[in-house]
Symmetry: C2
C-alpha cells in the first residue's frame, strides 16, 4: 500500500468485516476513491466467502475467515455483516486495540456509543469508547438535509413515508428483485426466497417484524429512535411509514416537516444550497426532482419538491422529497467518513 | 344482447368512448362481469383504433370512430379518453339525450357537476344535469376508507404520500414500464417515450406540471380539491406528495390522518371491517399488509398498517397504508357503479 497518512501519526491498519456483502463492496470502493490514508487493509467474511480475493488499489487482497484472533493488529475495523456478527466479534476487535465503526444496529442505542452522521454530530465521535455506530440508512438520508434546517428553526414534528430500495436487505435481495422481475416478464413463476413477498412490480411494508402493541415495525422504530439520538432531540415527534419498493439501491423519502417558527420554501432552499452533503434537485420547469436512479452512485442526498405544506395553515410546515444512495451515504460512505474523522 | 333490465324501464343503450384504452378495457370487463343491464353496447375510439372488434359477452363489437353524430341514440355514455376528448364530445352526447359518466378531469370541479364515489356521496348523483364526473384515482382510493371514519369522527387533516402505478398514465406507460425494465435487465438502452424519466427500477415525482407558485403538481392539486368535493368538506386540510413507482396497475397511499376527537386503531379497524368497498389486510403476525400486486384485479380497497400516529401526542391521529386497483375502483369500476345507480 503506497498511500501516505495526512499527519505524522502512522497510517492506520484497517479491516473490513463483511467485505463480500453489498455494503462491504462499497466500503472498499469508498476507501479507494477517497484515498483513505491506510497502511494496510485486511478483509474478513464468513468461512463460506473466505479464500476469494478482492481488488483494492489494483492489488488482490485475500478474504480471511473471521475469528476473534484474526482481528488482532488492526487500528480501525469497519463492521458490516449484521447485528449478530457485530455482537460476537466487535468486542474482540476492541480488546485487540482497534476502534470499531459498526454498520449494524447492535449497539446504536447504547448510551455510551456515539451514533454519528458527520454532517450532523461530528463532535460525538470524540466521546467514543472503542466503538462508533453508523446509523440506519433512512435516518441518515433524512437527517442530512433536516439538520441544517433544524439548527436555524427547530423542527417540532416529522412525518415521513419511505420508498426503500432492495439494497437495504442486502445483495441477495437486489438479486431477487432482478431475477423475480425477469421471471415476471417471461411469465415464469418465481418463489420469493430472501423477502417474504413477491417483489417484481410490487411494493410492501418493510420486512422487519411489527410490534403488535404499537403497530410499528423495527425499521420504523429504528428511524424514530436514531434520528432523535443523532439530532440530540430525545423528544422529537416523528411518524414514519417504511415501505420497500422495487428499486435497486437508493432510498427516497417523502417528508412533511413542522418547525417551531414560520418558514418559507425559499428559506429552506437557501439553507440546503449551502449545506454539506446535500444537492438541490428542484427544477420545477423541467419536472426534475430527486430520483433513486440519479441518486445511485452519488455521495450527496438529493432534495427537491420543496414547498409549503398546505395542510398546515400556520405556515410552519414544509414538504419535500429526498433520495440518497442506501449503500453509500446510507451505509459505506457514512462509515468511511466517520473513520476519516478518527484519523484526521 | 340478451341481458334484461332489473326494473320495468327499458334497459339503457350504453356507449364507451375510449374503448381501446387501459380503462376502456376494464369498463368492458366490469359491465360484463357485473351483468350490467344494458340493451345495447357501442364502442368508440380515435379513428386510428376504429375498425377493430372487441369481445363483449362472447360477441364481437366493432369499434366505431368517434364523431358527434355517432353519439346519437345512447342513454349512458362512459367517457375515458382524456380531458380533450371529453370537452369536445361529452356535450354532443348530452345534446343527443345521453347521461355522461366522465372519467376525465375536464368537468370534475364544475359546480353543477356531481363528483361521485358511490360509497361516499351517492346522493349527489340525482342532482346531475346530464354529466357525472368520476374522480381522480388517488382521491377515490383514499376516500373509500376515510369516509366511514369521517362520518363518526370528523377528519381535520390528511397527510398522504402516494405510490402510483404506471396504469394511471395509460396502457402505453404500462408497456413502457415492462419494456424499459426488460431493456435494463438485458443491459440495453431504452429511450423513455411516454414518461419523462427512466422508469425501470426507478420512481419519480408525478409527471404532471408543477405550479411554480405553490410547488404542487396537477395531480396533487386534483387529489386535494376532489377529496374535499367528494367528502363535502371544502376546507379539509390535505397535504399530499404524488410519486410514480414501478408498479403496473394498483396505487398505494401512506396516510396520516388527524381526527377531531381521540381515536384508537381498534376503533378504526372496527369501522373499516364494516365499511363497503374496503377489505382489512392487517396481519401483524405474518407481516401481511396491502400490496399493489394483491390489490390488482380486486374491487376492494385494501387497508392495513393501522396504528396510532406516534408523532401526535393528542391521540387524535392514526397512520395507515392502503392499496387499490387504479384501473378498477380508481377508474372503470367506480364509473360502472355510478352507471348502476343511474339505472337503479
Amino acid at each position: 500500500m503506497s498511500a501516505q497518512p495526512p499527519s505524522q501519526s502512522p497510517a492506520p491498519r484497517v479491516g473490513i468485516v463483511g467485505a463480500t456483502g453489498a455494503v462491504g463492496g462499497e466500503l472498499l470502493l469508498c476507501l479507494e476513491q477517497r484515498r483513505f490514508p491506510l497502511s494496510s487493509l485486511r478483509l474478513f467474511a464468513s468461512p463460506r466467502s473466505a479464500g476469494r480475493s478482492l481488488l483494492f488499489r489494483d492489488e488482490p487482497v485475500k478474504v480471511e475467515a473471521l475469528t476473534e484472533a484474526a482481528l488482532a493488529g488492526l487500528d480501525i475495523v469497519l463492521f458490516s455483516a449484521g447485528s449478530a456478527t457485530s455482537r460476537q466479534f466487535a468486542p474482540a476487535a476492541m480488546r485487540h486495540g482497534a476502534v470499531v465503526v459498526d454498520n449494524s444496529s447492535a449497539f446504536r442505542m447504547d448510551a455510551d456509543v456515539p451514533l454519528v452522521v458527520p454532517e450532523v454530530n461530528p463532535a460525538a465521535i470524540t466521546a467514543h469508547r472503542g466503538l462508533i455506530a453508523n446509523p440506519n440508512c433512512v435516518a441518515i438520508v433524512a437527517a442530512v438535509p433536516l439538520w441544517p434546517l433544524h439548527r436555524v428553526n427547530p423542527i417540532c414534528r416529522i412525518i415521513a413515508a419511505t420508498y426503500q430500495a432492495a439494497s437495504g436487505a442486502g445483495a441477495a435481495a437486489m438479486e431477487e428483485l432482478r431475477e423475480s422481475t425477469e421471471a415476471y416478464l417471461e411469465g415464469r413463476d418465481y418463489p420469493a426466497r430472501v423477502l417474504a413477498h413477491p417483489y417484481a412490480f410490487n411494493l410492501f411494508s418493510h420486512d422487519t417484524a411489527v410490534d403488535p402493541l404499537t403497530g410499528y415495525n423495527d425499521e420504523e422504530t429504528k428511524v424514530i429512535r436514531e434520528m432523535r439520538k443523532i439530532m440530540g432531540e430525545p423528544e422529537l415527534r416523528i411518524g414514519v411509514t417504511c415501505i420497500r419498493v422495487p428499486v435497486l439501491r437508493a432510498h427516497s423519502i417523502a417528508l412533511t416537516v413542522e418547525f417551531a417558527d414560520p418558514i418559507t420554501p425559499e428559506a429552506v432552499r437557501a439553507l440546503l444550497a449551502a449545506a454539506p452533503g446535500v444537492r438541490l434537485v428542484d427544477d420545477v420547469a423541467h419536472n426534475h426532482f430527486p430520483m433513486p436512479r440519479e441518486a445511485s452512485g452519488q455521495d450527496d442526498i438529493l432534495v427537491g419538491r420543496i414547498r409549503r405544506d398546505v395542510s398546515d395553515p400556520s405556515g410552519r410546515s414544509v414538504a419535500m422529497f429526498v433520495a440518497g444512495d442506501q449503500l453509500l451515504k446510507g451505509a459505506a460512505l457514512n462509515a468511511v467518513q466517520i473513520a476519516e474523522r478518527l484519523v484526521g
